[in-house]
Subunit: 520 residues, 2 copies
Amino acid sequence: MNKLLLFALAGGLACSTPAAAQSKEKLDGAALAKIRDEGMNRSKVMETAFYLTDVSGPRLANSEGLKRANEWTKKQLTQYGLVNANIEAWGDFGRGWDVDKSYVAMTAPYYHSMIGFPKAWTPSTPGPLRLPVVVMKTPTTEADLDQYKGKLRGKIVVMSVPTPPKPSAEPDLKRYTDEELSKMADPTAARPASNMPDAAAMATRRAQMALRTKMSELMMSEGAAAVLSARGGIYGTFNTTNGAPYAADATPVLPEVEMAPEDQLRLIRLVEAGVPVEVELETKTRFQTQDLKGYNVVAEIPGTDRKLKSEVVMLGGHLDSWHAATGATDNAAGCAVMMEAVRILKTTGLKPRRTIRIALWGEEEQGLHGSRNYVKNHFADPATMKLLPDHEKLAAYFNLDNGGGKIRGIYAQGNEAVAPIFAEWLKPFADLGATTVTLRNTGSTDHIAFDAVGLPGFQFIQDGLDYFPTTHHTNQDTYDRLIADDLKQASVVVASFVYDAAMRDQKLPRKPLPAPAKAQ
Amino acid sequence: MNKLLLFALAGGLACSTPAAAQSKEKLDGAALAKIRDEGMNRSKVMETAFYLTDVSGPRLANSEGLKRANEWTKKQLTQYGLVNANIEAWGDFGRGWDVDKSYVAMTAPYYHSMIGFPKAWTPSTPGPLRLPVVVMKTPTTEADLDQYKGKLRGKIVVMSVPTPPKPSAEPDLKRYTDEELSKMADPTAARPASNMPDAAAMATRRAQMALRTKMSELMMSEGAAAVLSARGGIYGTFNTTNGAPYAADATPVLPEVEMAPEDQLRLIRLVEAGVPVEVELETKTRFQTQDLKGYNVVAEIPGTDRKLKSEVVMLGGHLDSWHAATGATDNAAGCAVMMEAVRILKTTGLKPRRTIRIALWGEEEQGLHGSRNYVKNHFADPATMKLLPDHEKLAAYFNLDNGGGKIRGIYAQGNEAVAPIFAEWLKPFADLGATTVTLRNTGSTDHIAFDAVGLPGFQFIQDGLDYFPTTHHTNQDTYDRLIADDLKQASVVVASFVYDAAMRDQKLPRKPLPAPAKAQ
């Protein structure tokens, strides 16, 4: 899940009552029973998750790990019997980047090995450094930077920690209560406040970004050696992100390591008490500029109905992850479930009328690049809303990217006509806890690329488990977080929804086409 | 708190009703108000905790960090105005050991920096190693070891993980509920089951220890290069302990690193799936054999009553810690509170009738060595129960070593006569949440050394916070875990109890003398 976009869509559209019309969905009970039996009793989803996480490794956009995962998934989908498996370039992305070494420790006043990892797209240190540190408070004005002039040369800059680590008031694993689900299902219930920033907040954010650039320039021009920073996390878990743009022509920055807040705070407390502090730091990172393209992996189960097989039901999730862990819940889980869903559909020998196409997206974490460009290349450009011929052929797109939790329902994304259909489709899964249709929007991931051009793209509601605050974009998003029963359940629900959509006489109803974004 | 002993005393003695006799404790309200004002409004406890943790560093038995802490506390107690401050040798302990470097990463199939730290008293690697790994299952019989013969040479041995990391079903911070406290106070309430192992369990443990020695011998004789092991923890937190004896003549072992379970499990999963795994490992550890003694830090506030000043009220906690963090909750918190208590008593200018003596114990984590030997040197040897002259002079000993939580009451340690006295002494602190006297025993720390020779030694009841399972003996027991309000409250309660004990006409009542341990 991409956090940058989280704010943009959480607010959703205005309240409205779902269509009261009774849906008359014809469900194939025998087929659904087959899907359920295969998915619950002969699941491969954990094995798939293992290959995506442990074997592929971290899957940062355009990294070697993502390449390994692309190649493995293409091969594996072909082995499942899917056709047209392809690692399809979606366009130009930017530099590849991988880590070959990361070591950071305090060496004075005594030795303490610290927990940290290079921020994505930051350069290597020039060999091992062993240098005194200087603490820099996050500036609020450009004038705040002046005090550091003349003080940074040959130093490791330790940035202040915005918020100290805070123990959670909740258990690690969270699941939706019936009450919470009822509230989501009730179109008259109050919605969570929109996180959409207002103009003032946007201006503040731009100012902060500009200041951050000035700060970076100052560190470079003053000859600082490297930067340690900490954004969030607790007890050995830390949040991770990029420390430089991925663009091939990005302005150079210093080596920067993202730290466990406790380790960063110890350095700061010691410096502030007047204790001389020395840090040893070595990072080896490697840029790749031979291939700047981004890729999605796609593969198909061909439809069998003469009239409908040119229509497509898509399912997908993003295969890329952040770099300090193996992106198990963000989003190997979603990809493993989607791969398992098509495996189940192939293995059971069911004959979908429409073509089913799985897409494992690249470069989601940098702005849904893989899915947005796929949509632009195949269906429509939201800027112009000039529709390509395939736009009318897409029956539905289903996405999974809210961690490793089981499915509790689906976001209808403001599509009132589809809500009663989904309610019918969920009925067979009440005993598995998947019951809820909400009209609410959810954002921050790849179904938004489809929704943005008026295509019926949906994301499932999942139990949160330890996604927030523990695994999402942290160094602790590893295979160990995955719960087999949750992923099996999700695979069965997704396979069934995809099958239902592939068999239905009509494509899923759509919302009105949006206006071109350019004109808005 | 020393876990080895935890089981031994949790069961406690048989149920009994506290003496119903009304205590007529004369409390000096004006003095207690002064103590409270100083402790709540001009506290230095967090500053003290900072020096004990961040500035001293990890304080493993006979390490440089513990030496720094010994020296700082002696100096600081003298600055507070205490007298006879002394770093007092308690006897022979064993080797000093410090860490100068710790680096562990997976380098194939891809790079992954791992979280780990050398087990205490393990040797250095011979420079940086970069070697394939072999997974070894914890043996249950000696025959299980045979399969590894011929397979270990030049390998890094990755031990299996006894239990996978398990998310907690509770919030990070726990506090006692009123109901839990009532149950502790009720002598008729069911007690927690004793953890005291029975003969069969003890035999199993001995057999496991013997097997562990065989395993270690096998690894050495087969030429394995190093060991990675993981015992517990989750999300970047891991448990830590020693990997070799501290005795100067201990049998050599391999370098061994204690790992975050997730990192260890990834290695194991990859190896078991047939993926070649390579690990880079470098540890630099340093033994010190010049001074094998162990030490306690003691200092006094002299009594002012001609007749009573030869009697002593003691308070203390252990200053040593495990080595992968700075032992903030185990037990810098307890020491900071005890130091703050004597600071408060000196600063307020109160004139205690009896002498007050603070003791900051060394080598608690290896078996309460500091306190046990202090008691043996000054009061009595539990083996013979021959009493030294000072045995009758000790009015009370108060200990604090259950994490960083505020005080909720006190364990009367089966001393029925003292329970109503403590109940009176707690009354002024009801508004601060310290209300409960329980007859139950608690063990695992230094008051046991006093209790073992019939001296009135007590430990306070404290809110658990995140002590179990997160901070106790882990790499995450850092200053960040300490909560100023909790430590201020504890300082005030302790200072008041110590003052009450120093002013009381009689020494605190004692339990009957135990029989010599030798004869038992």
